[in-house]
């Protein structure tokens, strides 16, 4: 009963914490809310007119929405990048920031589910896909698998984050027997969400571009490049704007791991390119359309090369220790690899998989204005979720926000004394 009361007080206090911030906080949240409003407006149009106001058609029946979904599953999976070294190798500096990775995963999953919801033609029938309520075609359909693993992964991360923060709030030590197994479980879960998402495409024999055995490994390798890139930048922002203690050592360690995954990612891409071009079967048309255009249709060509070149440049910046340990080149590398993977998943995976279509027809797809606005709205929602979680979590992680302080501190949201050191909240 006591902990139940604590829990409701925790929720209330957190809510109060979210409502108060400085100018920049309000401006940022206001900006995100404005974007969300644009997205809602665009989506309302889509709901009434139908997906015809997207540029998707029967020939290219999935597009920008599903591309973004795929990319964000990768971001969600990349939380593992921090969890593995922290828990397997017991490496202290990374442990403190694992919770951030988990919050990133939650935000990414919120966006994933958003992109799936806006892509389906009958969102009013979403209950059909809820296990036990609707009629899930499991285990035959990979989409059914994806629904299950994505939601489980979301639940798992949400629980671990909330539990750890709640323990810090009540200044009690978390129960290791609860947290450790869950965190260890999140490792195979992270691998599984991206693997299942890859299999979604991989298992379709009708689309030779996707029907490649290294699709799932490529998904994982690229996710382990882009996910940590977001985190590296975030960690730097956080240690500037808050008193959260994040060592250079932790950041450089992540960067080093990223150099390996980027090299591996490029290698897998090269393996795919070699197989396609050397064997040169009629299945070559898809990768030809992507990199060189087909019969004068060249929409994807600039995207394809931008992805390859940014990926290569980022790899070099991360490979060379001097540029890896220079903040400017490190951050540039982060932006480049993020762009590379985003372009590859957003434009270079779904669209060439479907172009030319199964009867050889070429329909040149590019996202419509509505699709862009709806996507912006979903990204803003994800950023808002992340911002709010950070807003609540940072003071808790710093030990500034505890039940005791809240009771004594009156209505002022942030305690005035800042003279205690950061404390660890993750196991």
């Amino acid at each position: 009963m006591d902990s139940l009361r604590n829990l409701s007080r925790f929720a209330l206090d957190t809510l109060r914490l979210l409502l108060v911030g400085n100018r920049y906080y309000y401006a940022w949240v206001g900006f995100l809310l404005a974007l969300i409003l644009c997205g809602v407006f665009a989506y309302t149009g889509q709901l009434s007119q139908g997906l015809i106001i997207s540029n998707m058609r029967d020939q290219v029946s999935w597009g920008f929405y599903i591309g973004n979904f795929t990319f964000l599953v990768g971001v969600a999976a990349a939380a593992i990048m921090l969890v593995i070294p922290a828990y397997i190798y017991d490496w202290e500096p990374i442990k403190e920031i694992t919770i951030l990775g988990e919050m990133l995963a939650i935000s990414a999953l919120v966006m994933c589910l958003g992109f799936v919801l806006v892509d389906i033609g009958r969102p009013d029938r979403f209950w059909h896909i809820i296990p036990l309520v609707g009629k899930l075609n499991w285990p035959a359909s990979l989409l059914a698998w994806d629904v299950i693993v994505l939601n489980l992964y979301l639940l798992l991360n949400w629980f671990v984050v909330t539990y750890l923060l709640f323990c810090a709030y009540t200044e009690r030590h978390y129960v290791k027997a609860i947290v450790l197994p869950l965190v260890l479980l999140s490792i195979p879960m992270a691998v599984s969400i991206h693997t299942v998402t890859a299999y979604l495409y991989n298992g379709i024999a009708a689309r030779p571009f996707w029907n490649s055995a290294i699709l799932a490994p490529r998904f994982l390798a690229s996710a382990f490049c882009s996910g940590p890139a977001i985190l590296l930048i975030l960690l730097q922002v956080l240690r500037k704007t808050t008193k959260l203690r994040i060592t250079d050592e932790a950041i450089f360690k992540i960067a080093e791991l990223m150099a390996y995954t980027m090299g591996f990612n490029l290698f897998l891409t090269a393996a795919e390119v070699f197989k396609e071009f050397y064997s040169g079967t009629e299945h070559l048309v898809f990768i030809q359309y992507l990199f060189f255009g087909l019969k004068g249709h060249t929409t994807l060509v600039p995207f394809a090369w931008a992805s390859i070149l940014t990926g290569l440049a980022a790899f070099l910046l991360f490979l060379i220790p001097r540029t890896r340990k220079n903040w400017i080149t490190l951050n540039l590398g982060c932006l480049l690899i993020y762009a590379s993977v985003y372009i590859e998943k957003g434009m270079g995976l779904i669209i060439p998989g479907l172009t030319p279509d199964v009867l050889g027809e070429i329909y040149e797809y590019r996202p419509s204005v509505t699709e862009a606005f709806v996507a912006a709205g979903i990204f803003a929602t994800g950023f808002l979720v992340f911002t709010l979680m950070l807003k609540a979590a940072v003071p808790v992680m710093l030990g500034e926000f505890t039940a005791r302080r809240r009771l004594g501190g009156g209505s002022h949201p942030e305690p005035s004394d800042h003279n205690h050191s950061a404390r660890e909240v993750t196991p």
Partner: protein, 309 residues
Amino acid sequence: MNASHPGPCSGSCPGGEGTPGRREFLAAAVAGMAGALAGCGKLSMEEFLQRNFRELAKDEIQKILLRLEKEYRAKFGKPVRVGIEEPMQGVVFGYALDLSRCIGCRRCVHACVRENNQSRDPQIQWIRVMEMEKELGVDVQHANHYYDPAVVPREGHFYMPVQCHQCRRAPCVKVCPVGATWQEPDGITVVDYNWCIGCRYCMAACPYGARHFNWGEPQLPAAELNTETHYLGNRPRPQGVVEKCTFCIQRTRKGLYPACAEICPTGSRKFGNLMDPKSEIRYVLENKRVFLFKEDLNTKPKFYYFYGV
């Protein structure tokens, strides 16, 4: 449910009556949320809560048919019959198309649209005829989908109509996340337009481009409406769901030929019961040079191509 015989025809459906308590409660719970979220004013609670066709009891189906007939009557201003003719015992439908006879006139395409109530705007067609060069053989990368000469056939070309292949190992059925599409005992793959969520995974999975999505609200002039319909076939479709060729289920289950086979002026289209050794389709399969389109995908189609002469 008995998976091998999934029609409503199997009499009372076990589970259909027994377990709806929890399901209906949960469904009703999400109903309110969804209604508020989607703002679907047009959607009745009855329609929203309707379960998968294969889980419905006979009396529930009857109620739904009446509701649909009322709805269509209001929309088109004339009576529409929505039937659920069941598969015939000992019948598995097959189709064979004679590539040496087809002249590419596309009469089949338009007869299909008229018979099956496809949307006229945006235009949906279940049959796609490809013009191919004789020298290249069956090669979709060089096919012309939008050929428009004054007279067909054009010199040096042959024509290959493609429609649903009614695969025995149908990738579309396998991938559907909600079981909204399935193969009937007579071999026809159908869609429950009231259960499909419009995710379009089946469209990505189909190797024959046979599945079509209602991207916008389907426009169908009342004057052109075919009022003889089947629940799993040619009844008017809503926006946001997938549809496909059903071998004219509303006709063939009554012993008629599909509209495309009936109209073909060259006799290129052969349709019949694969289980009947004396049928024309069996004669074609046993005596002509037959090939399967994309046989490497192992989808085991019941739609065959052959060279008659």
